[in-house]
């Protein structure tokens, strides 16, 4: 009886999410569906960061650089190899996954704040690295898809036809990004609730205890970095497809910090909260320039907003969600 109720609640939630996914771009103007698509990019990256930081306890300040790997993989394949932009997404994910695995290696020796610093160094070095290999990356100018590879850009004419349905480019980007976002979310959910997720949490809560029950720390940590890297890479690819440009200035260490802010505001250790985190990162900086555009004021308001969220919701939006949903879920899961 209760089991049936539980399944019904899940089914209803799934249907509601799916309906929202399909309807959302029609509730806002065509251009704003592009904004939603950008929030989707942050969502994917932040979900990935959450697997690493929220569930495995490894702080990364280098995820902006992993997004750069994904974004540049997409742009370079389109410009140099004439791949159609959307088909580069899997490869961008794999490339960033490999890089994620590599920057995970120091994690075997470093922990906590020291690991954060090591990944931060990676983020700081990324723009210079991108300029160094200018043959591949276009140097300081970056790669401009619309100019250098117009035939590889999906939706160049303003509309995109998928399976016979014609839609605007902005709607297409929204459906593509959040479609991938939903799949990425489900995969993340399956990972964290399963055996691997338990291993991750064990490492987060106590490395000594985890090792003593036979968990391979090195394997677990590097795996978390690699999975997280794939998410960042896919997000970076979608970023490049939406902006139609990649440039070192778009992937400074600020992006890495922005992603961490998103994950913390969304609530580390909560996946649904990441939607809130993504919208925070996408919309709050813009809203703060609307309040006042006097020099320094937008940055100040954005900072104040982060502090306010941390004081009012120390566990992020995810913590709030859990608190609100607890009366319902405890009743559901109480076995008679």
């Amino acid at each position: 009886m209760r089991r049936g109720l539980g399944i019904a609640v899940w089914a209803l939630t799934a249907v509601a999410v799916l309906a929202l996914y399909l309807l959302a771009p029609h509730l806002v103007s065509d251009f704003h569906s592009r904004d939603l698509a950008q929030a989707g990019v942050f969502f994917i990256a932040i979900v990935g960061l959450n697997i690493l930081t929220g569930y495995t306890g490894q702080i990364s300040l280098g995820h902006g650089a992993l997004m750069a790997v994904g974004g540049y993989t997409t742009a370079a394949l389109a410009v140099h190899e004439h791949w159609r932009d959307v088909w580069t997404i899997p490869l961008a994910g794999i490339a960033a996954g490999v890089v994620g695995f590599l920057i995970g290696l120091p994690a075997l020796r470093l922990s906590g704040i020291y690991l954060a610093l090591a990944t931060f160094a990676f983020a700081v070095a990324m723009p210079s690295l991108l300029k160094k290999f200018s043959g591949l990356t276009g140097g300081g100018q970056g790669l401009r898809l619309l100019e250098q590879a117009p035939l590889q850009v999906t939706g160049l004419s303003g509309t995109v036809t998928v399976f016979g349905h014609s839609t605007t480019q902005n709607h297409f980007l929204y459906y593509l990004t959040w479609g991938i976002g939903l799949v990425a979310f489900v995969i993340a959910w399956l990972i964290v609730r399963g055996r691997l997720g338990r291993t991750f949490r064990a490492v987060r809560d106590s490395e000594v205890a985890a090792a003593s029950v036979g968990i391979d720390l090195a394997r677990t940590k590097t795996l978390a970095f690699a999975i997280s890297g794939v998410y960042a890479g896919v997000a970076g690819a979608l970023f490049a497809i939406q902006a139609e440009i990649v440039n070192p200035l778009s992937f400074t260490f600020l992006l890495s910090i922005l992603l961490l802010v998103g994950a913390v505001v969304g609530g580390l250790g909560s996946l649904p909260g990441m939607v809130v985190g993504a919208f925070f990162v996408e919309y709050v900086p813009d809203l703060s320039t609307h309040v006042s555009s006097k020099p320094g004021v937008p940055d100040f308001i954005y900072g104040a907003a982060i502090i306010l969220v941390m004081i009012l919701l120390p566990t992020g939006a995810g913590g709030l969600l859990r608190r609100v949903a607890r009366p319902l879920t405890t009743r559901l899961y109480l076995r008679p």
């Binding site: 251009f31 300029k131 004419s157 303003g158 200035l249």
Partner: protein, 403 residues
């Protein structure tokens, strides 16, 4: 490349037509009482000092609107924050075109930032007017990008002026260059070589930095070690100030040529405050705007007008040369809009912007004209040299015209 450009033009031209058609009889962004234009500027982030340009322009438009506008239309100018990030520029520009439906993009700031939107704007035939960057490509490549036009004297020309002056006045100089590692810095460097011509081997050391670098301490030390006597600072304000400070710390006092991007009086004031009067004394730069801090212009009607507009419509710092720049470029837009006639179209304003001959811009140095033609997309190509003396810039010599 031409074939692919042609293809995008065709593909997106159709879209542009559809947009225009849906806007009924009149042009997008134009109503009987208003002209809507937009641009991007860094309101936040590391380059936010440049926002004074957009705010100066906005103040001038408000002044024009208060006087009745142009052909009874008020000019509404919206500027959006791109935080100096080219991907955001691309995004905000799309918002201006698709959501706000502006008539034209006006004076968006930054070299990479404007490069990021140029292909898009040209494909959909939206004017990219008077971009706030001196990169040569915005004026030079008009055949490929007919909807784009620059504004200020281009960086290559500026470099050429310095090169010629050094070759003429100190043919034995040991020249060292600090330049930003992008189109902007490289354009200036290429111009310098061009101006030095046969004397290009006077350049004994070239050091570059990246925008994200924290400082240029090691570059300055290397330039000193190369026994440089004439230092070219092709750098943005933060790094130009640092160069003065580090040179001072090393007890090194070369003759400094500081590019126009960083030679504003307020920037030089900071460099002097960080060192001493001797360190900045004798620095050289080019100038094309009236410097509101220069006592020479205290009674000038142009500077008086500037100050009254700042006071009434802006409220910001009236000693900010970037705001003068903003008013000058706004003045040029107004001239182009008048020229485009009673019912301006996008094609019409482009035609007007490329056939300008404005000799009455009150914010430019006397004698400088804003002049363009169908084959000349460089509105400003005249400048004077100026020397920093006793805490102020003093211009000298005649006007240079360099392409």
């Amino acid at each position: 490349m031409t074939r692919t450009t042609h293809l995008i033009l065709c593909a997106l031209g159709a879209l542009a037509l559809a947009t225009v058609a849906s806007g009924a009889a009149s042009e997008t962004g134009i109503t009987s009482s208003q002209v809507l234009i937009g641009g991007t500027t860094p309101l936040s982030g590391p380059a936010s000092a440049y926002q004074s340009v957009a705010k100066g322009a906005a103040a001038y438009f408000r002044y024009i609107d208060a006087k009745g506008g142009v052909n009874k239309r008020k000019i509404k100018y919206v500027y959006k924050d791109d935080a100096y990030d080219p991907s955001k520029t691309a995004d905000k520009t799309r918002e201006l075109v698709q959501q706000d439906k502006v008539f034209a993009i006006f004076n968006s700031l930054g070299t990479e930032q404007n490069l990021a939107t140029r292909a898009y704007l040209n494909a959909i035939k939206v004017p990219q007017l008077f971009v706030a960057s001196g990169a040569t490509t915005f004026g030079k490549d008009y055949k490929q990008y007919p909807w784009t036009i620059g504004y200020q004297p281009n960086y290559r020309a500026e470099g050429t002026i310095y090169g010629r002056y050094v070759a003429k006045t100190s043919p034995k100089a040991r020249i060292g260059v600090l330049y930003q590692n992008d189109d902007y810095g490289k354009d200036l460097l290429a111009g310098l070589r061009n101006g030095l011509a046969k004397k290009a081997k006077l350049i004994v050391s070239k050091q570059s930095y990246d925008v994200e670098d924290p400082d240029v301490q090691s570059q300055v030390a290397k330039l000193k070690a190369a026994k440089v006597s004439t230092l070219m600072l092709f750098a943005t304000p933060k790094f130009a100030i640092q160069s003065y400070v580090y040179a001072h710390k090393l007890g090194w006092k070369p003759t400094v040529y500081v590019n126009a991007v960083s030679s504003a009086a307020n920037i030089m004031g900071l460099a002097t405050a960080g060192t001493n009067k001797k360190q900045t004394e004798g620095s050289l730069s080019i100038v094309f705007l009236k410097d509101p801090t220069d006592a020479h212009w205290a009674k000038d009607p142009g500077v008086k007008l500037y100050r009254s507009i700042m006071k009434k419509y802006n409220g910001g710092n009236p000693n900010d040369v970037y705001a003068v720049y903003g008013m000058s470029v706004a003045h040029t837009f107004v001239a182009a809009l008048k020229k485009a006639g009673k019912n301006p179209t996008r094609a019409g304003i482009m035609k007007a912007a490329t056939s300008l001959n404005v000799t009455n811009d009150p914010f430019l140095l006397p004698g400088i004209a804003v002049k363009t033609s169908s084959t000349d997309h460089f509105p400003l190509d005249q400048a004077k040299l100026q020397r920093y003396h006793n805490g102020h810039w003093v211009s000298f010599g005649g006007l240079f015209r360099v392409r």
